[in-house]
């Protein structure tokens, strides 16, 4: 079912209200809720966090928009809190990290599948295979330090195996920038995709920067430092695919449309009825915010938002395992590298990035050490060792 955003006006901004207990609701269950419910919680926290980040940047550059931005931002602050506080207290920071990487893999893969612009699709594949590898490294850390199984979080939806090895992700800044879409010719779908993935990656970067120092183990501190650096590169990559000549209000409008579109996907996909009601409510709130910004655009820029937005938003992002698609991309593109804005075969990688990486990895690579010889196995890698020891004892007894 498509969503007619020009006709659906949602909840008026003035009626979007909260109380503290309404903001802090019981969390989801780490054990019983579907992994994609957690994926949605993490993704939508990222979308709202980007809404706040953009809104503050915009306010600092546009005096005349400050009041409208502040009004909308106040609601978004509470929306983000409501969503982020759905994460349960028994979910450790490293377990939440596993959830972040599942978001990066499954949502980016779904976006890449739907994306019609071949260059943008290539860019999503490039980032996808790096986040895929991050999941493997963090899973090794979780198993080897905490003695826990990453698949308890992933629930079999997402593979745990190496992607493009993290030690090769470190590139010179000039090799992280990509070509932007053209605001005049890009489809609405391409714009919504770019806004979604940029938000998710920015949140991931900020999360790793916050939780990295909370670990006491140098191995964990090093791994978070390394992967946070790559997430910073991903933010650089994904923000560069967005046309920088869009006006501030145009960008604001697209942010609101991206929020509407993603809440719509949450409503369509959610299996937990209590959480679904939150998505439904916030979809209505976002429609109200979108119409508020449409009015701002008409008033300030004298432009018709309908020129920028389709009446009906494209089909929502599917929230499902994209295992087969990810495997295809992995088999085909794991060895690709970057040269300026282009994704190229390994042998054509820019010298600047090779030199940059050699210097950064000069003391060794944390991500390689953490996952040295690691192959995920149900429960723990120790299971393989235990089985091997038992077989050896049986063999010795027979001998």
């Amino acid at each position: 079912m498509a969503l007619d955003i020009l006709r659906e006006r949602g909840t008026a901004l003035a009626k979007q209200q909260f109380t503290w207990k309404d903001i802090v609701q019981p969390p989801i269950s780490k054990l019983d809720d579907d992994a994609f419910t957690r994926v949605r919680v993490i993704l939508m926290n990222g979308i709202e966090s980007e809404a706040l980040r953009f809104s503050h940047s915009c306010a600092r550059m546009n005096r005349e928009l400050q009041l409208d931005l502040a009004r909308v931002r106040r609601v978004e602050q509470f929306q983000q809190t409501t969503i982020n506080w759905l994460n349960p207290g028994d979910q450790s920071q490293l377990e939440t990290t596993i959830g972040f990487e599942q978001v990066a893999i499954e949502i980016t893969a779904a976006v890449a599948m739907q994306e019609t612009d071949p260059y943008l699709r290539q860019v999503y594949h490039f980032g996808l295979l790096e986040d895929f590898d991050h999941l493997y490294r963090y899973a090794a850390l979780l198993d080897r330090v905490d003695g826990k199984d990453a698949n308890n979080i992933l629930q079999c939806y997402t593979d745990i195996r190496p992607g493009r090895a993290t030690m090769f992700h470190h590139r010179a800044p000039e090799d992280d920038l990509r070509r932007p879409y053209d605001k005049a010719t890009a489809t609405a779908l391409s714009k919504l995709h770019a806004g979604t993935i940029m938000a998710a990656e920015h949140q991931t970067h900020d999360y790793y920067m916050n939780v990295g120092p909370s670990f006491s183990d140098p191995a964990a501190r090093l791994l978070y430092a390394e992967i946070a650096a790559v997430e910073e590169q991903h933010v650089t990559q994904y923000e560069s695919i967005i046309d920088p000549t869009e006006t501030w209000i145009e960008k604001w409008l697209l942010h609101e449309a991206t929020e509407v579109w993603n809440y719509f996907a949450c409503v369509e996909n959610e299996s937990n009825p209590r959480i679904k009601r939150i998505w439904e409510r916030f979809l209505d709130y976002e429609l109200g915010q979108l119409h508020h910004v449409m009015d701002v655009m008409k008033r300030v820029e004298r432009r018709d938002p309908a020129e920028l937005l389709p009446a009906e938003l494209p089909d929502p992002i599917p929230h499902a395992s994209q295992r087969a698609y990810v495997r295809e991309v992995l088999a085909r593109e794991v060895d690709l590298r970057a040269d300026g804005t282009e994704i190229v075969p390994r042998e054509k990688e820019a010298r600047s990035s090779i030199d940059y990486r050699q210097q950064l990895n000069a003391d060794g690579s944390p991500s390689e050490a953490v996952a040295a010889g690691y192959q995920w196995s149900p429960g723990t890698e120790l299971g393989v060792k235990v089985n091997g020891d038992a077989r050896r004892r049986q063999h010795e007894a027979r001998a």
């Binding site: 992994a35 493997y136 629930q155 939806y157 140098p218 390689e368 050490a369 040295a372 010889g373 995920w376």
Partner: protein, 243 residues
């Protein structure tokens, strides 16, 4: 609070997703590690940091002249005053936190629908009060040695890190009373050994008065441990693991 732990939709295991689970295992087997080695490689990452020989922190010098003199006198005898203050600080922090843990357990107890089994509210309150009294004993002992009882000593800090999960369990509205008793049991086990060690240290410093006081505290802690164990066992073995 949940009154019943039901068989339900736990989705964390492989058996929940037979098709995806099989694909996951196959995929992991196909994905060869990018470097050789095993979990020991993590030690290589830690080595430089371990070799830097940094510490969590230190015990401050005695706050009073009396304490300074005591430290010097005992240093001559070979006993380590800093280590004694460190351990006293650890127990003080533990008893202070223990008081709060029992307050959280009492709060959890007050939401129990069915209170026909031990403990009673009075029994829990009694233990809570004893934990607080132990805190007061330690505060006085540290002061008497010229130390500052408001200091967080290294042993107190490390012990706080080790027991970080306890208040998380006790204050989570979703945990059962039985699950909370399990958490309290881990605290009581550590506490018993902590007091036994303090008694030996007090004797080493020839502080018979303190050693006697600490023996009294240990006797109470032993009683706490026995009670918590029996309450937990009764609930688990007699079919009350879930409230």
């Amino acid at each position: 609070m949940n009154s019943v732990t039901e068989m339900g939709m736990n989705r964390t295991g492989m058996a929940t997703s037979p098709v995806d689970g099989k694909a996951l295992v196959e995929g992991a087997r196909e994905g060869a590690p990018t470097s050789a080695g095993d979990a020991q490689q993590l030690d290589a990452l830690r080595d430089d940091y371990v070799n830097a020989k940094m510490k969590v922190g230190s015990v401050p010098p005695p706050a009073s002249m009396k304490g300074a003199m005591g430290a010097i006198a005992n240093a001559v005898k070979g006993a380590d005053m800093a280590s004694f203050i460190d351990r006293l600080g650890e127990r003080l922090a533990f008893e202070r936190a223990g008081t709060r843990l029992y307050e959280a357990l009492i709060s959890k107890y007050q939401h129990l629908a069915d209170v026909d089994m031990e403990p009673s509210l009075g029994q829990l309150q009694e233990i809570r009060d004893e934990e607080m009294a132990h805190f007061a004993i330690l505060r006085a002992a540290i002061g008497e040695l010229g130390g500052d009882p408001t200091v967080e000593t290294p042993a107190a800090d490390v012990s706080g890190v080790a027991s970080m999960g306890l208040p998380k369990v006790l204050t989570d509205p979703r945990t059962t009373f039985t699950q909370c008793l399990e958490a309290i049991l881990t605290a009581e086990l550590v506490d018993n050994d902590g007091w036994a060690l303090l008694i030996k240290m007090a004797e080493q410093f020839n502080r018979k008065d303190m050693a006697a006081q600490f023996r009294g505290a240990l006797a109470e802690e032993q009683e706490h441990l026995t009670k918590v164990r029996s309450w937990l066992e009764a609930r688990v073995l007699k079919g009350r693991p879930v409230d």
